[in-house]
Each structure stands twice: as C-alpha cells, then as structure tokens.
Symmetry: C2
C-alpha cells in the first residue's frame, strides 16, 4: 500500500512507539509504505525532531547492514517532577494510613495511566543501560514491572512465595525479611532466566530492603546479574537499609506512633540529574 | 509552542495512542500547538483515516460543548488471526506439558509485546461496551488484566486469596474450585469497587470455571455487574464449564493419560465476527 507522507508519519509514529528498544530497518518501512528509503529517512528526521523536542524519547540511528532506527523512551525531568508531585499529593490523603506503618496504594497502582507513566519514568533513568529482563516479587509489584518491561521490550520474571504446579521445576532460596525478621522463601521457575542476564529489579514498596536483597541473592543462583533496582515508595527509617544502590521515587515517613505520615521525594532525581539532556 | 503539520501529526498520534477511550477536546490540541481548530480538525481527519485503514482503531468525534475526539483501540481480524497462530505455535512445543494437565505459559505471559497484543485483541471484542473496571485473580492473570485495562484506560482490581495488611478492610467469599472441588477463599479490598461498576473479568487460564464464577459472585457483594469475561486459554473437557458467556482465545486439549496435548482456537472469533468492520 502506498501512503502519503502525512499518513506515513501517523503510522510510523505508532509503529515505533509500540516497539521500543527494537532496531527497525529502513527496508521494513519502505516495504510497508511502498516508498523510497530517502523519503523514509526524511520522515524519521521529522519524528526524531518531534520526539526529542517533546521529551518522548530518542530516535537512534544504527549504521550498517543490520542497521536501522531504534526508539528509546524517555521522560523529561519537568514531566517527571510533575508526575511525582501529582502522585505524592494523592498518596498524602490521610485515609490511606493502615495499621503497621503501611499505606493504601492499591487504587493508584491499579490505574494503568499512572503505572505506565511511572514505568516510563523508571525506564528513563536506565535508558542507556543494557537490560535483558525485569524481575519482581508477587503480587503488587507486577503491574509496575510490566510497565517498565514494556518500555524496554524485555520479558518479566515473577518471583513467588511458593512453587506452583503451573511453572515446572523451580529454584528457591530462604531470606530474612528485614522488617518482620522472619525467614521467608522465594521461588523462581528454573527456565525463567538464562545465565548472564542483566536484570532490573522492580518493586512497589520497600521497608528494610530484605525482599530486594533476597531477589539480588536469587539472581546469583542463576548466574545472572543486577543491572538496577528501583522501588516506587520506600520508607524513611533511622536504621540503614539492607541494600544500597537502589532508586526510589517517593519516600514515606511515619510519626512515632504511626498516627500521621508524610510523603517526600525519593532519591530518583539524583540519578536523573546525572543524565545528560537528550 | 507552534508546530508544523508534520510535527503535529507525530505528536497527536502519540498523544491519542496514550489516552484511549478518553475524550480530548479540540482546544487541548489547539492550545498545545498554537494552531487554529480548523487545522487541528484536518490533522485529526488524516489520523482517523490512517487508524481506520491500518486497523489501529477508530477515532470517534463527540459533538457539543464537552465534545472532542476519542481514540478506541481495535485489532483487525486478520491481525488477530496471525497473533493466534503465532501463539498457538509457541504453546504447542512439547516441553510445555506439566503434571496435572497444566501448560507452561509463564514465558509467553512474561513478554510485554505478546501481553499487550493479546490485551488489544480482547479489548477489540468489547470495544463498544461500557467498561468501568477490569478484574482478575492473582497472580498470573495480572499482566493480561493490565494490558486490557490500558486499552480502556480504566483501573484494575486484583482479587487475592487472603487479605493483606496493605489493603485495609476487605470483603471475602468462599467458592468451590471446579477442578479440585476444594473450598477456597477470595478477597477484595472494600474500597476497590463502587456500586454499579461494569466489570470485565480477565484470567490467563480456565479449567472448570470455578474461579471465574467466584469472581462473578464476588461482584454481587459490591453491587457491581459483569460486563464480560475473557480467558487466554481454556481447557477442552467433556464436562460442561461452571459458567457460560465467556470468551476464550485458545483451547487446550489433553489426551487421556495427559501425555500429549493440542492447542486450538477458542471461541473468540465467534464474537469477533459479530463486530462490524470498523
């Protein structure tokens, strides 16, 4: 089918946005639209300029026989700050406080629009890193893990608390929960990770960091490595966390008797500011 | 910022694709680009024509003071058939057979590209229905539920097997698992559903249908109603299912001794064919 430039631009934009971090050859587009590669190159120039000026992401050209273009999602710092202020406003509502120093976040984590935006923001920090897999622990971290993985176009592996008949043989480790001090188990299907995989660990909430540390240890059993760790909300405590080098978007602090709380920014913008402007 | 038509088309396409089922006024775009509404209308005409000819979805114009345009995602039947043939090929690999008549699908359900495509396909069937919420049971149905919910721009609620401290007060019911005949519990946070909500129930796998039926019963406790039910894979059994009126994408049949299996199409294209061409 032969398309005009205006229609090609609409279609290519959708095509690229659906295939982040994937090299797409000029031939793919020139065959799809029955257009010369020179026209396709001009189209890509227009898209690149728009994506970069609007902060949607970068469009990187890869030279050579297996070359093409690759869309790398990004989120401008100003958009990220706006998102954080929106979310911290919502999370600060007083009826969210639950016994045990927890915060009701289920409704926020249930909104695809928020989850996808948070996922794009986390992926922006790691956008120049090689990420092969995103990992999380069931249950509440799963949506965010998928949102991040969608931006990298890589698979998600879900660590479970016990092995399931639907997952075949598994590898399990014991770990100590940092906040409850109890020994717990985490389990991952044997075929879910190949050795050498670079894994980005994602979770929705972190207290002492025991679960995060457990996931990092579990990776060693698969000869895989930690490429990054990010949580949506961490608690602000006097005691040091069991891990470091993680990214947190927001931070929850609780008064002594857990009667009131406050939400502040996590450490995310320390990492953001190290990124050069796209 | 004033943008040229070509750059506006790129930006509007991304803007609309990120906001399905949401009414966007012409003023939003004309302010965003510093362009006259007449130019914006022409741009939308180009996008509409491309979306509809490529099967991306419909662009519906809503008249009146609160009017604008709304993007409704779709997937052409030919693309849906191609997706099903790809997935049934992958699922037919013999090493996927697990004890108990289960199939290893964790790797497929871990790929955002597949999950998002399956989500778009399911949303295409219900694209003309009013959907307020997507519901699923933890754990493996969660990614698919989010993929569907993203297409409708509605929240997801996750039913759990036991109540969690992080979710506040809950409503729970007992139900009988259709395949194991055991009494089980399902739990949903009290604040997760408002009365009258139209709920699309999603799951990855269905044997007898006990879980699906349990979720439908749970909705009654919230005075909410079932707007639809869809599963990725159902089993093909002699015994009738505990529910009807559900959609299945693929069907798994097992030999008597569970030594081999086959994947065939589910009932999805019966529903698809009722849809007029967009």
């Amino acid at each position: 089918m032969k398309l005009k430039r205006s229609s090609r631009l609409v279609d290519m934009t959708g095509y690229l946005l659906q295939r982040p971090h994937q090299i797409i050859s000029l031939s793919t587009f020139s065959e799809r639209y029955g257009s010369a590669k020179s026209s396709i190159s001009e189209d890509l120039g227009i898209i690149k300029e728009n994506f970069e000026s609007q902060g949607t992401g970068r469009l990187v050209t890869i030279a050579g026989a297996s070359g093409g273009v690759k869309y790398i999602p990004y989120m401008e710092m100003s958009d990220a700050k706006e998102l954080m202020s929106l979310l911290s406003g919502q999370l600060s509502q007083s009826d969210r406080l639950l016994p045990g120093g927890y915060l009701y976040m289920t409704d926020i984590l249930g909104q695809p629009f928020y989850i996808n935006a948070i996922g794009r923001m986390i992926s922006a920090v790691y956008s120049k890193d090689a990420i092969d897999v995103v990992m999380t622990m069931e249950t509440k971290g799963i949506p965010l893990a998928y949102a991040v993985a969608s931006q990298f176009n890589v698979p998600v592996v879900i660590v479970r608390r016990s092995s399931k008949v639907t997952e075949g043989s598994t590898v399990s480790i014991n770990y100590v929960s940092g906040s409850s001090k109890r020994i717990q188990t985490m389990v991952l299907p044997r075929r879910s990770l190949t050795p050498g995989s670079k894994v980005l660990i994602i979770d929705d909430f972190m207290k002492a960091g025991g679960t995060m540390k457990g996931m990092a240890n579990l990776l060693q059993e698969f000869d895989a490595e930690v490429a990054g760790m990010a949580v949506f909300v961490e608690t602000k405590d006097k005691a040091p966390k069991l891990i470091d080098g993680y990214l947190s978007l927001l931070k929850l602090s609780m008064t002594e008797q857990e009667q009131s709380f406050a939400i502040e920014l996590g450490n995310v913008f320390n990492y953001y500011s190290l990124e050069e402007k796209i």
